[in-house]
Amino acid sequence: MPAMLKDYFSTGKNKEPLPPKSKDQLPHSIQGISYVEWRDAKKKNHKWRNIRWSVLLFMNLLFVFSYSFDLSILEGSLSGSRLIGFYLMDPFNALQLLAISSITGYVGMLTMNFWIGLITILIFWFIFGGRGYCSWMCPYHFLSEWAEKLHIYLVKKKKIRERSFNIGLKIIFFIGFLLLAVLTKNLVFEDLNMVGIVSKAMIYGPSLLLLWVVAMLLFEAFVSRRFWCRYVCPIGTTWSFVGKLSPLAIKFEHDKCGYCLECQKVCLVPHELWFVQRGKATQDVHFVGPDCTRCGLCVDVCPGDALTFAIKGASALV
């Protein structure tokens, strides 16, 4: 059992790399077509993106209609809600509240609904892949994807330069926001929270804080690609801790890969796809790490179908 668990959590990153495939072993050679023809075959494939956007818009509109038409199916907002009577809590909001209230002693006052809501949502996103929340639920992620399109276009036209930062930044923000909450006895992040601001603006009407959202979208479009989602958002970081344990993940099969790197180009967190580069993979099968939002953009674009949605550890159980 421990060996199985070790396998489950292992990224395989510190192992010796497999030898890179020779030209004859690459998928386009096997199919007998040119590399470019092979690579561009799935450029227009948007299957998972369309499914995901539909789910995202449906859920967010369900929030809006539940209130405006009194449907009472999904009440509240993404900061805290109730789905047909069952409470659901935003985990970072809850974490800030727990940090402050364990110091002040308020923690004992929290209702059973709060605890049930927190545990339910953690179990739900444990099953559906941790940061799956980001790409399948978060309305800011949706807006950010459009800013990203503009950003990529501007970089391609050489109007702006790509600026990237260290991915460890998000841990600093995660700890920083928690500390700030404790020091000021205030849910500081909730006032800056893109998810909460956009979600509540849709449900309860726009507020001045939407300017902050617009400012961040402009920053992402003109300065640093997906800055908020990649480096800042502590909600995403909280979900990536859950994603570390989650069985639903993107599976990579080395024998189908043609080293084209199309997947890394579309990915929100390309560092998690480190094994797609020639001579980097250490195992025949890799699972994408915890920062992955399970958005499926790489699955859509992969010409060799080397990347697929899969259940981690399923082969060990069967």
């Binding site: 809600s81 809850a94 930044l169 020091l183 205030n186 507020s207």
Partner: protein, 270 residues
């Protein structure tokens, strides 16, 4: 090759560290200002917290700003504070002059729905159950005459303390010895409430209701709590005027209904 790579990494790391430190410092300063501006001091004393709200300092961090209380309120009295309202951003408040809490939900649903108990339901639950038990004991064998739901809802709303009403003697019509005839806030007024003399389950528009009083007593007759909260009495000068008692819950129906241009009765939050 190796050396160049680590140089790039170090520069990237320093840059990232600088961004993070700057951003956290900025957020910290913002939070500090926010904190000074919100906790403890209330910049808008005419805004009330919803029923069952605990002390303001705990309220500010305990409220996760989900808006469930806003959604459940049948008269939409509760709103989320926007920037510049003088309350912590996103926290719920009631502006009683626009729409008061009239208890027409019957069960303090906003309090019951709050997941973090900053609207604390426990005292209400306890009071409701105690009242039902007492009523059952008093009724003895004749327990079928007791409607536990009625007893419970009266007991629960009576212990609400959002604030206490105060009458402005300079502008109050009763203090001037004047009556009131007509629609109290004009026909365009959006506010709704359930009048004490109605049998309806839900609230109806204040604009639909016409009053005709020789001496204005709207705050007294329309109070959802009744004679434990506000009564009419003769003052030293022989005028019939309203007097607020300790049973006032601070719900603000009197504030909403007051027909003078600026309200002559306000609720001071506790």
């Amino acid at each position: 090759m190796e050396k160049k790579k680590s140089g790039v990494n170090r520069r990237a790391f320093l840059k990232s560290g600088l961004v993070a430190t700057g951003a956290i410092a900025l957020a910290g300063t913002g939070a500090f200002v926010l904190d000074r501006a919100t906790s403890g001091t209330r910049l808008r004393p005419d805004f009330l917290r919803p029923p069952g709200a605990i002390d303001e300092e705990t309220f500010i961090y305990g409220c996760i700003k989900c808006g469930l209380c806003v959604q459940i309120c049948p008269v939409q009295a509760i709103k989320l504070a926007k920037a510049g309202k003088g309350l912590a951003f996103g926290t719920p408040y009631i502006d009683p002059r626009e729409q008061a809490c009239d208890f027409s939900c019957d069960a303090l649903q906003c309090v019951e729905t709050c997941p973090t108990a900053v609207l604390n339901f426990k005292p209400f639950k306890d009071a409701g159950l105690a009242a039902v038990e007492q009523a059952a004991a008093e009724a003895g064998d004749d327990f079928t005459s007791v409607n536990p739901f009625e007893v419970q809802k009266v007991a629960m709303k009576q212990i609400v303390r959002m604030g206490k009403a105060h009458v402005n003697r300079d502008s109050c019509l009763a203090y001037k010895g004047e009556g009131f005839k007509g629609v109290s806030r004009g026909t365009n007024f959006k506010g709704i409430y359930r009048a004490p003399d109605t049998q309806d389950a839900s609230a109806s528009p204040l604009a639909d209701k016409e009053f005709d009083r020789e001496i204005c007593d709207l705050c007294i007759t329309e109070c959802p709590i009744g004679e434990t909260a506000i009564v009419q009495e003769l003052d030293r000068n022989g005028r019939l005027v309203p007097r607020v008692l300790d049973g006032c819950t601070g719900c603000g129906v009197c504030v909403m209904i007051c027909p003078t241009h600026e309200t002559s009765i306000i609720v001071e939050p506790f």
